[in-house]
């Protein structure tokens, strides 16, 4: 198979063009695994179907996650990729590396695997793409020697990830990388041994721009925000006005979702009580505006992909929480969520679906949080209220509206 001239005319097409070519990447690897992978791919391009089978239970000892088993359905033709598992290697928070550590990772993967990776997987892991069953354990050993560990898969906590936050962004309202590392270490057991009804993902973003798409794809989205006034550098505002690049009225003021800004050509005023911390004005004038000083995060819960009740976005669970190590309040909340969902969640039911099933009000009751109007976009419109009446002095309560 691997000796002859190019048998991959279709995929070869994808070597051309200005965008970096994944085909070139595969071809650059001179080993039989990579060659067979290319062969399988060519076959898929001919057949218009994939040639991978459902994964089996493979992994490293003592872990219930971190490896995705994968077998080929043409093992005779492509024996080198007959078993072609991926390993999810927990990346360092913020995806920062030194050349040194990258080279060492490459060395491990050259020795034990296909030499192909994803930098990175969608959850954030370093994906070691294509490992035989036998090589899983040795690879793992080398990785731990190097100070790396596996990430999550299956009904585990998944590898937490974050935007680069304070490392390189002026808008980070809390230390996303610090928190990501802290939570990852705190919950090693949950990350490696499936304790849940289904997967659970954390994603941390330093501000409402949400550069890690946390509100769309994390069971818990921790997004930075502030409570006090936007910091305004009046001189810098004038600079922007003078620059001609920005029409402050049209581009900034009129795009503010609550119209809480005004600009008379001289002074930019913000009615911070009405600001919903959307970040737009700050984004538009980074030199002139900055988030306030009383910073923390909003904790949202429940986003996920569509399977099976339809996709969800995370929704507000705690409107504002200070984010300082050791993050006790946050961890208390996490533990409460996990306990409730762990006990009552159905198999393959994400926490967002679970909350909808049992009702958010009910859920809050159970985990001991007070309901607040910030958790909803609007109160119920239907009259189907499950009044609880065990408590007879409710009458009194109801009267002090």
């Amino acid at each position: 198979m691997s000796e002859k001239e190019s048998k991959t005319p279709l995929v070869d097409e994808l070597e051309k063009g200005p965008w970096p070519s994944f085909v070139k990447e595969i071809k650059s690897i001179d080993n039989p695994k990579a060659k067979d992978l290319l062969g399988v791919l060519e076959r898929s391009y001919e057949d218009k179907v994939g040639h991978w089978k459902h994964g089996g239970l493979v992994g490293v000892m003592g872990y219930g996650g971190g490896v995705i088993g994968r077998y080929n359905d043409l093992p005779d033709e492509f024996p080198e990729v007959a078993a072609f598992h991926t390993m999810r290697v927990n990346h360092p928070a913020g995806w920062f590396y030194t050349s040194d550590v990258l080279r060492k990772l490459c060395d491990v993967w050259e020795e034990h695997g296909s030499g192909l990776t994803n930098m990175h997987g969608s959850t954030g892991d370093i994906i070691f793409l294509g490992c035989s069953t036998e090589e899983l354990e040795p690879t793992f050993e080398k990785l731990t020697e190097l100070g790396f560990d596996l990430g999550g898969s299956g009904s585990c906590l998944r590898t937490p990830s974050c935007c680069n936050g304070m490392a390189r962004c002026e808008w980070a309202c809390y230390d996303t990388m610090g928190l990501t590392y802290d939570l990852t270490m705190e919950y090693q057991d949950e990350l490696h041994r499936p304790p849940f009804p289904y997967k659970f993902k954390f994603k941390m973003a330093g501000c409402a721009n949400d550069c890690v798409a946390s509100i769309a794809r994390a069971d818990m989205s921790i997004i930075g925000t502030w409570k006090d006034e936007i910091q305004i550098d009046a001189d810098a505002v004038k600079e922007y006005a003078a620059s001609g690049d920005l029409d402050i009225l049209e581009d900034v003021v009129s795009r503010c979702p609550t119209k809480c800004m005004s600009w008379d050509g001289q002074e930019l005023l913000i009615d911070d009580a009405d600001c919903v911390k959307c970040m737009h004005c700050i984004n538009a004038m980074p030199k002139a505006l900055a988030p306030g000083k009383d910073r923390g995060a909003t904790i949202l819960v429940g986003s996920k992909a569509p399977i099976i009740g339809g996709a969800l976005l995370s929704s507000v669970m705690v409107p504002f929480l200070k984010m300082e190590p050791p993050y006790e309040d946050l961890k208390e909340l996490v533990d409460a969520l996990w306990e409730l969902w762990g006990e009552h969640g159905k198999n393959r039911e994400r926490i967002g679906e679970f909350i909808q099933r049992i009702g958010l009000g009910n859920f809050l009751d159970q985990i001991g949080l007070d309901p607040t109007p910030e958790m909803i976009s609007q109160p119920r419109a239907n009259p189907y209220i499950f009044y609880e009446l065990d408590d007879e002095d409710e009458y009194e309560d109801d009267e002090d509206y």
Binding site: L14, F96, E141, H192, I215
Partner: protein
């Protein structure tokens, strides 16, 4: 064996990020003041200290060989003390303290085939998934479609010339790995055939009750094939979600003619200006046409161009569509509106037009 276990180190977690941060970041951690874009592909962060950090962002195919990673490492050594990172959209970023190194690095990257760009109001690296490279569930290839599409849209990566950021994403099946469901433009692999049941293997590979229960529409019923336990699928009730396949390998949906791609538009995740939004269906189906999926590429380009020509500064695709209204979006793009566009899932009624607010 037991000695082996003794030696084993587990649960050490990832290395602490701090050891990988360049000195300029350590010093300015949490103390950045503002940023500006120096030129396409380069942004500068200015610290309260006055320090300037130059980030050079290059495209990456995401599927990286160790050769390419070593190349990145070499470039990092040469131009920025060995410090680099990857972004949440899989670009590679070099972290420079020396302005003078910026242009030489860019030249080298270009030479090696890793063009810079993706900052500001551009199309950045599409988030994507495994496709025919690794996943059993894929209704299309991922890397191939993304490569074909980005070759075509390359100008929008190289230069930030759009009204706002435009986030592309690709997922090869309805599991939607990645943030496909909230992207400005998402390409989604779809199956359109009911599961083919392998009655030989099903009893071995799957639990019949679990399989039956897995179907959200109740389309799967237990049955007997040649006196053996199996299942059947009621064709009219199947919405091709593949949830059954996820729990039972003997129910495959892959099919050369019936699989293909759908296109979704107008999602976003940032809170800037408007609230995060889901992407909505634009084109229900385009057949697989490897290696370059020209119909998909054209369809995406068409949407990008119509958007670029009509939206105002700071208007994300979905924000712009909501301003002009969906009818006009279909008119301007020439995309046919079909009954497939009309939601018929759980909250369908919420998407019906319950007012007179439309252009006559």
């Amino acid at each position: 064996m037991s000695t082996n276990i003794k030696k084993r180190v587990t649960d050490i977690g990832p290395p602490h990020y701090e050891q990988f941060l360049p000195p300029i970041i350590k010093e300015n951690y949490g103390k950045w003041k503002y940023h500006y874009f120096m030129r396409p592909g380069v942004m500068v962060h200015v610290g309260e200290s006055g320090d300037q950090l130059y980030t050079v962002r290059a495209a990456s195919p995401r599927l990286c060989s160790i050769n390419t990673i070593r190349l990145f490492a070499d470039l990092a050594d040469e131009f920025c003390g060995g410090y680099l990172r990857f972004t949440s959209r899989n670009n590679v970023e070099f972290l420079l303290s020396e302005e003078s190194n910026v242009e030489p690095l860019i030249e080298r990257l270009a030479k090696e085939g890793f063009p810079v760009g993706g900052f500001g109001n551009s199309i950045s690296n599409p988030v994507h998934t495994q496709g025919w490279i690794h996943c059993h569930s894929a209704a299309s290839d991922a890397s191939g479609v993304v490569k074909a599409m980005m070759d075509d849209l390359f100008e929008y990566f190289a230069e930030p010339k759009l009204p706002a950021k435009l986030r592309l994403a690709f997922a090869c099946c309805l599991n939607m790995c990645g943030a496909v469901h909230c992207s400005d433009i998402a390409i989604l692999g779809v199956h359109r055939r009911i599961p083919e049941i392998n009655s030989e293997t099903i009893r071995v590979q799957c639990e019949i009750p679990t399989t039956v229960a897995s179907c959200p529409t109740g389309a799967i019923r237990p049955t007997n094939v040649d006196g053996k336990q199996s299942v059947e699928v009621i064709e009219e009730q199947c919405m091709f979600c593949a949830n059954c396949y996820t729990v039972c390998p003997s129910m495959t949906l892959n099919d050369p003619e019936m699989d293909g791609l759908s296109i979704w538009v107008g999602g976003k995740v940032s809170n800037a200006r408007t609230e995060p939004k889901f992407s909505k269906l634009a084109i229900p189906f385009i057949p697989n046409n490897p290696p370059r999926w020209p119909e998909v590429v054209d369809a995406v380009r068409n949407i990008v161009e119509v958007y670029a020509a009509n939206a105002k500064k700071f208007e994300r695709l979905g924000e712009w569509i909501e301003l002009i209204g969906w009818p006009k979006f279909f008119k301007l793009t020439g995309i046919e509106f079909t009954k497939y566009h009309i939601d018929d899932f759980s909250h369908a009624g919420e998407t019906f037009k319950r007012s007179l607010h439309f252009r006559q």
